[in-house]
Point group: C2
Chain length 155, copies 2
DNA sequence: GTCCTTGCAAATTGTTTGCACCCCA
DNA sequence: TGGGGTGCAAACAATTTGCAAGGAC
């Protein structure tokens, strides 16, 4: 699959080269697919989307590319308990993009939210401080997920 | 593997029969292993512990029994992102046993804590209420995990 | 031309299922 | 004695790896 110049964001090529990597059509395409829609996508979903445009792309390449994009800090990977990894584009800097999840246990829809209310920020700060001291952990990150039923599924 | 009477808690047999199930040596043994130590155990870990006492037990039985015990409400199952399920004994009622996790990203040790500070409970309630209203979700549960380095791994 | 990438097939890993035999109740 | 339980092997699903051919630079 030869690549065509001019596709994809110009910084992508540079960032790849910066770590001794090469720009290929598959990589551009996968990045493009991931950036076009908001949400969390399984490998299979990305694979299907990519194949619509270039049926020659292999599943293995999707796996490898997604892993690469996570290493490069462009994607985040998360699992919601169904045994398959989900990938999501990181928009803005990593810290700006930090968010929590609201998961519908019926339709599996995942809602991100990042404009936390003060109470939630307070909650995290106080709890982190207390836990750090109590268990002598150096806390670097956290995962907060709420599970329930979305509006549609409540009916 | 014939079973020997008198092992395990007496209520276990009754609870099994209550749902048309039978008491077997493997089930008693696995329950015993799980209740003896606090913590989260992978299937492989339970399997190894069980085999020390009865090498004839098969891995499949461990899988099936752990699933059964979760269905019976005696164990909780959780995944921490390394692709393998972890099982943990539920002590006391399910709601009493609710807890959060502190995970060391270096040695994978998981610390539970359940004596939340008052602030934590209060703030969590407020956050849930706000999210419920905003996204019209009926929130039933949540997962809170902090990731970092434990005391040993900081060195 | 060099050496990173890709695609295919095969291997791995964690888990589940089919089935004949076993054993609790 | 009957129907659930067990162990083994095989099936499965998600993901990874070996390797030869292809393409970026």
């Amino acid at each position: 699959m030869p690549r065509r110049d001019g596709c994809g964001p110009p910084w992508f090529s540079g960032q790849l080269r910066g770590c001794g990597r090469r720009l290929t059509a598959a990589r551009e395409l996968i990045l493009d697919v991931m950036s076009r829609k908001e949400g969390h996508f399984s490998v299979e979903e990305v694979y299907a989307a990519v194949r619509k445009q270039y049926p020659r792309v292999g599943l293995v390449t999707v796996y490898r590319t997604l892993t690469l994009l996570v290493e490069m800090g462009l994607l985040a990977c998360h699992e919601f308990g169904d045994g398959r990894a989900r990938y999501e584009m990181i928009r803005g800097s990593k810290s700006e993009d930090h968010h929590h999840h609201l998961v519908c246990t019926s339709c599996n829809r995942v809602v991100d939210y990042r404009d936390f209310i003060d109470d939630e920020v307070q909650l995290l700060k106080k709890t982190e401080a207390a836990l750090s001291k109590r268990f002598r952990f150096k806390i670097n990150d956290h995962v907060i997920e709420f599970y329930g039923l979305c509006e549609k599924c409540q009916k």
